[in-house]
Symmetry: C2
Subunit: 361 residues, 2 copies
């Protein structure tokens, strides 16, 4: 397989780390990166060290990336170096423009689309400003004549539904859209799909995550609010109406440790898409500790099924407690990116989830 070029939309936590981790991958060349202020494009490959160094503490994460897949699934990939809701600035330019490789742009995404011919894959590492921001960005790539891979690390079922509505358009454009390719749903549904292969029928997939977020808490208040909606006493409406003080009080009430059961999470629809099991057989929950960086529980995937010879058993996948959210998002995202490029080059277009990129039936 030939080398792969990729672009990153968004140079917040996920975008920066994707650039960083890509340096460990042979045959993967970052050729473009943008935020809402500017864009850096170099078809020969960006100088990642310069870009990261120049923009350190100077990045635009926009509204907190509340819809972004994480190790646990509930908490956004916050960027510890970013102030809440805006652009930190030092030096001359705002955001990515602080890099010598970048220039300001009125429409940085369009510039990347215009260079699409030379870009195999685009990682949408964007804070999801509105629920339809990623889907509308996909529309722009279609309109701009892009054909290649688009990949996001979102986790919400509703975004996947919106992408599904665009499936035919994406197919016609020759775009392979890989959705939910971070830690979860990405890595964990991939593990579930692999573990499912011992069985001819899956009865349960149980995804249980642990996230320790002391140092990232300040940057993730938005998603902590969203998480609270998953607590038994709340729903999306009531959580939305809470004041910051209300939220602090709830966190205090729980001594900083929030436990979630039966979360609405895209893992279920993605496993159903992949033919692993019915969405209803998937349960997702976990524990968030906002007062420790250590994980309060070990992230575990349990796949229970019936073998062809009539036995019932459970295969298990566990992430080491010392693996950070970021590590579990970026490695898998780039792995799925490569798998997506392979599909795309083989002429397979449309919307695809991570579990569908695993070997299996």
């Amino acid at each position: 397989m030939d080398d792969i070029t990729f672009a990153v939309l968004g140079t917040g936590g996920i975008g920066r780390r994707a650039l960083e981790v890509s340096q460990h991958k042979d045959a993967l060349t970052p050729v473009a990166a943008c935020d809402r202020h500017g864009v850096a494009i170099d078809s020969a490959g960006l100088d990642v060290d310069e870009l990261l160094e120049a923009t350190e503490g100077n990045i635009d994460s926009g509204p907190q990336g509340e819809d972004v897949a994480t190790d646990g699934g509930a908490v956004a990939e916050g960027d510890g170096a970013t102030a809440s809701g805006g652009v930190k600035q030092h030096g001359e330019g705002e955001g990515v423009v602080a890099s010598a490789q970048a220039h300001p742009s009125e429409d940085p995404i369009q510039e990347i689309i215009d260079h699409g011919e030379a870009i195999d894959a685009v990682l949408l590492a964007l804070p999801n400003y509105e629920h339809d921001f990623i889907p509308r960005t996909a529309d722009r790539f279609v309109e701009g004549g892009y054909s290649g891979v688009l990949i996001d690390v979102l986790k919400r079922s509703r975004v996947i539904g919106m992408l599904d509505e665009r499936s035919e358009t994406l197919e016609q454009a020759g775009i392979t859209f890989v959705c939910g390719a971070g830690a979860t749903p990405g890595l964990l549904t991939g593990a579930a799909a692999l573990a499912a292969q011992s069985f001819v029928e899956i009865t349960d997939v149980d995804i249980w995550w642990g996230v320790g977020l002391e140092s990232g808490y300040e940057d993730n208040r938005g998603t902590v609010r969203e998480d609270i909606a998953h607590l038994p006493e709340y729903d999306l409406e009531t959580a939305r109406s809470l004041s910051e003080d209300d939220i602090e009080a709830i966190v205090d009430d729980h001594d900083g440790v929030l436990e979630f059961e039966d979360m609405e999470h895209a893992d279920d629809v993605l496993l159903e898409r992949a033919g692993v099991c019915d969405a209803a057989d998937v349960t997702v929950g976990g524990v968030l500790d906002v007062r420790n960086d250590e994980k309060p529980t070990t992230t575990t995937v349990r796949v229970t099924g019936r073998t062809f010879d009539g036995e019932t058993a459970t295969n298990t996948f566990q992430l080491g407690d010392a693996t950070s959210m970021a590590a579990n998002v970026n490695g898998p995202a780039l792995g799925y990116l490569k798998a997506g490029v392979r599909r795309n080059r083989a002429g397979e277009y449309g919307v695809v989830g991570p579990a569908e990129l695993m070997p299996g039936f």
Copy 2:
């Protein structure tokens, strides 16, 4: 992706179970099966129930399949219904010919090659008569003009080496050869490749298997002998010279439980091929209990690495103790078969290991 047609060479334990498990898979149609006595071909799809029922207790497993991948890796996929070293017969025909769909053949493999146009993938579920039997069978498919997927469930490094020598020829023929696609190296190296994605550098992959083989022991004496060569006091030479009584004495000496460390196993070369780690960083061992069907230890893959942010951690994959060898061979083998067909249709030819079929860099 369109439907997939496949053939099975060999209707011993693995072949029979692959046919059985394929009935649980949508879009997978078995169109041919053979043993050394005959062949059944039906491009509309074999009647698997009839074939399995007619040949029950009547199958040819040839010499015991001593080179066949297993849940544990050491012990062959024996077929409990098969006498040692030959063909059980009941009814009119020998082996597969007992099925109304089959006919006797002087050269059943050639008949399948001659129908290769309509066969997307061929599962080589053959006892490995000699070390080069599978590679030589691949040669026959090349010579016969076949282009499609060949897939085996072997575990020995030396066979993979022999296939590698044929890599260019296979590429020119348009054949994608997936090697070692059973439980191990197959499923377990796949799990290792997935688990590796949290890390930018892998320091250790530790594969540890458990196999309980009371009811399968009689059919697996050949591989128990081979396993003994892995014990510290023996090597391949000395193990080969042991009498049956010697072997029984050794088994008795160990109270039926043989423990293996640092086995020579293809997992290492296959993980290196996939770029996961150096072969030297992979260790394989396990415990075989020939007096219990329960696994003496839980089959576990541990992948230790360094994350991009400098942490060291271990991700873990465990198979449920109640999953049989057969379940862990056949499901993954068919999954890899499908992944292989996808590669093949995308124009990627040559020799490929299971871990290379996983998403990842």
